[in-house]
């Protein structure tokens, strides 16, 4: 693969990453959110695959396959099960911030990401590292989703969005976090999602719904 194709494909995948994050702010139906999340996972796998081809690392190839399985296969499947458990009313009805304002916030967060990550790009200017701000922007948008959504499954989506952003930063800065660390991280994320999914089920049992605004037992 020529250098130009590599760069173009890389930027295309990073664009996909950012676009899907913004889509998650725009759409509210949980089923759609999960599909968008799977697409984002695919973009992430493409980034990993490109890095593997470019640096020629077999480990990175394994990471790409792992991302594909985990983020396009397993995690969306788990999320779908969580939503199926919630039932037909699986729509984020009352987010704390409305859609138009969320989109504006996403724009501001992206600018902020570019401002904050300047030292990261300057350390080693290259095609991959110049896309680091996009990863940081996805982290910030994920954090924003996490704190402004009320339903438990949509908070879960926010957490996973944040995690996708972090993985993207990891891949774009990479030539190699050790594979053991990579594996441990993937396992931890999977387990955290499993835990949250089980808790979603329990919340539905005890509260009858998974609206986090219902969580008012504990406060000072």
């Amino acid at each position: 693969m020529s250098e130009t194709t590599y760069v173009q494909l890389l930027y295309l995948a990073c664009g996909g990453l950012l676009l899907t994050s913004v889509l998650m702010l725009w759409r509210r139906e949980l089923a759609v959110l999960i599909r968008v999340f799977a697409v984002q996972g695919f973009a992430l796998a493409v980034i990993a695959g490109l890095a593997a081809l470019h640096h020629g690392g077999i480990e990175l190839g394994a990471v790409a396959v792992g991302i594909l399985v985990l983020r396009v296969g397993i995690l969306p499947w788990l999320l779908r099960r969580a939503v199926a458990a919630v039932g037909p009313a699986s729509r984020e009805t009352r987010p704390l911030v409305n859609v138009a304002a969320s989109l504006l916030v996403a724009a501001v967060l992206t600018l902020l990401a570019y401002a904050v990550s300047r030292p990261l790009v300057e350390l080693a200017p290259a095609a991959a590292t110049s896309a680091i701000p996009i990863g940081v922007a996805v982290v910030l948008i994920g954090f924003f989703v996490l704190i402004t959504r009320r339903r438990a499954p949509s908070q879960l989506v926010g957490f996973l969005l944040m995690d996708n952003g972090i993985t993207a930063v990891g891949l774009l800065t990479t030539a190699g976090v050790a594979l053991t660390v990579e594996l441990g991280v993937a396992l931890d994320v999977l387990l955290a999602v499993l835990v949250l999914q089980i808790l979603t089920g329990r919340m539905r049992e005890t509260f009858g719904d998974t609206d986090v605004a219902e969580l008012r037992e504990l406060h000072d």
Binding site: A124, V185, L191, A192, V195, L196
Partner: protein, 493 residues
């Protein structure tokens, strides 16, 4: 031999967990947990001797490393772990009698507590930041189910908040670790995330990138340590978890998370000078102290009160770490152990109290001293130990932090921190004396047979208090270890 000693603190609890998985919870297996914790403590003492004789050791293909600082943390984990697991059999038996738990719940509880101990031991034994991160995230996953064990609305809510906030915080720490790794790649030696290697290569790490990474790491691990701004999970989780788990989470897990901050601070100081991490920690510490002290005043639930006191003490530890220097670091480490002991005793005693009185509201509990004198005595002395009265060890460590703070020219910060601590201490004493003193209610139903403290639980509470008082008088055989651990935590200027 050394590999075996280093594997034991992780391996023994894993074996204990397996035993509960296979045999379940019953009178015959109830004490396996305490046995594994005792083994963990014994291994820590053995490692302390080895490290004292021949310095830091590396094992398991470079994944595990032990020096005086990690040995000291292992001692804290082992001691408080032993207290909590030794009080567990009577606690679980009482829960089962009251119909709040089944044998299966008890088995799962014991299994998860063992896994929790193993995860904390691997955190302090990890040789690189990646391993440390994985182990700390693992503690969140394991304890999530322990927090939500009772499956009431409040418990499920606490577990949800706990996992969401802590996972978010720890995700920030992961981003920080990745960025630090990125900075490390662009150095001649490429140390990866190895904690020792990073310090050795400090002068070649890019300062601007390291700064972003360190900020993420300190805020991220600070979440797990209960420091502001992401502290909101702590009062909920600590008040809803079963008593032995609260004792472990408050007494040890917070310190283990702070141990991660200490390791990050070593790298930060070597790259950026002492100022950056100091400013970050001081801001977080003072914010946490102000928050804990103000929320303690109007507190109506005694478990939440103890939880806020944990935020206060971790903030004090953060103040000490920000001050730096051998005296402050020795005080910080002693404070971790002293806080673990006092808070362990108090949470275990509070668990006992909520089992006999059936409430955790401060206003609904009166005259414990007249009804349960031993328990009331332990709670009373526990609070005195916690607020730092002599002869308990927190007195010595708070004095150390204060002296070092004034000597380092951080007089104003130290004075503010100390006065907030004094407010928190006074409030604690007022709340607890209301619960302990007074005359028992007269009238029908009030004179039911006064419940007795189970012998094992009573022994645990007394042992914890005695140890805390003994440590305050003299660090004894710990003196050497404390000194060398403090030297490591200070780092090379």
């Amino acid at each position: 031999m050394i590999t075996l000693l280093m594997l034991a603190p992780v391996g023994l609890p894993v074996l204990g967990a397996l035993a509960y998985l296979l045999f379940g919870w019953r009178p015959a297996t109830a004490w396996i947990a305490a046995g594994a914790a005792a083994g963990e403590l014994a291994a820590a003492i053995g490692l302390a001797a080895v490290v004292d004789l021949s310095g830091p050791q590396i094992a398991v293909g470079g994944l595990a490393r032990v020096d005086a600082l990690s040995v000291f943390m292992l001692l804290v984990i082992g001691t408080v772990g032993l207290l909590a697991t030794a009080a567990s059999p009577s606690y679980l038996a009482a829960e089962i009698r009251a119909g709040r738990a089944s044998m299966r719940t008890a088995a799962r509880h014991s299994l998860l507590v063992q896994a929790f101990l193993a995860a904390m031991a691997s955190a302090v034994l990890a040789a690189d930041l990646g391993g440390l991160w994985i182990a700390i995230e693992a503690t969140t996953i394991v304890t999530a189910f322990l927090v939500g064990q009772r499956r009431t609305r409040a418990a499920v809510e606490a577990a949800w908040k706990y996992v969401v906030i802590c996972s978010t915080g720890i995700a920030l720490a992961l981003l920080g670790a990745l960025l630090l790794n990125y900075a490390a790649q662009h150095t001649p030696v490429r140390p990866g995330l190895n904690l020792v290697g990073l310090i050795a290569a400090a002068h070649t790490l890019d300062p601007a990138v390291t700064k972003i990474a360190v900020a993420m790491l300190v805020i991220g691990f600070g979440t797990k340590a209960g420091l502001a701004p992401l502290h909101a999970w702590l009062p909920d989780a600590h008040s809803q978890a079963p008593a032995p788990v609260s004792a472990l989470m408050s007494g040890v897990l917070l310190s283990v998370a702070f141990y991660a901050i200490l390791r990050v601070k070593l790298v930060a100081d070597a790259v950026l000078g002492a100022g950056f991490a100091r400013a970050l920690l001081l801001v977080m510490a003072l914010a946490s102290l102000a928050l804990a002290a103000s929320l303690l005043i109007a507190q109506r639930d005694y478990k939440r009160m103890l939880a806020y006191s944990s935020i206060e003490h971790l903030a004090l530890i953060a103040t000490g770490a920000a001050v730096g220097g051998p005296l402050a670091m020795a005080a910080v480490l002693l404070h971790m152990l002293g806080h673990g002991l006092a808070k362990g005793v108090l949470f275990l005693g509070a668990g006992q109290l909520s089992q006999t009185d059936g409430t955790s509201r401060i206003a609904q509990i009166r005259a414990v001293a007249a009804r349960q004198p031993v328990l009331a005595g332990c709670l009373g002395f526990g609070v005195l130990a916690l607020i730092g009265l002599p002869p308990f060890s927190i007195f010595a460590s708070e004095l150390g932090i204060a002296r070092a703070g004034f000597a380092a020219g951080l007089g104003w910060f130290t004075a503010i921190a100390l006065s907030l601590t004094a407010v928190a201490g006074a409030v604690l004493v007022i709340h607890v004396s209301r619960m302990l003193l007074g005359t028992p209610a007269e009238g029908p139903g009030a004179a039911t047979a006064s419940p007795r403290l189970p012998a094992a639980a009573g022994a645990v509470l007394l042992a914890g208090l005695t140890l805390s008082a003994a440590l305050g008088v003299t660090a004894g055989p710990l003196t050497g270890l404390l000194h060398s651990a403090a030297v490591i935590a200070v780092g090379t200027p």
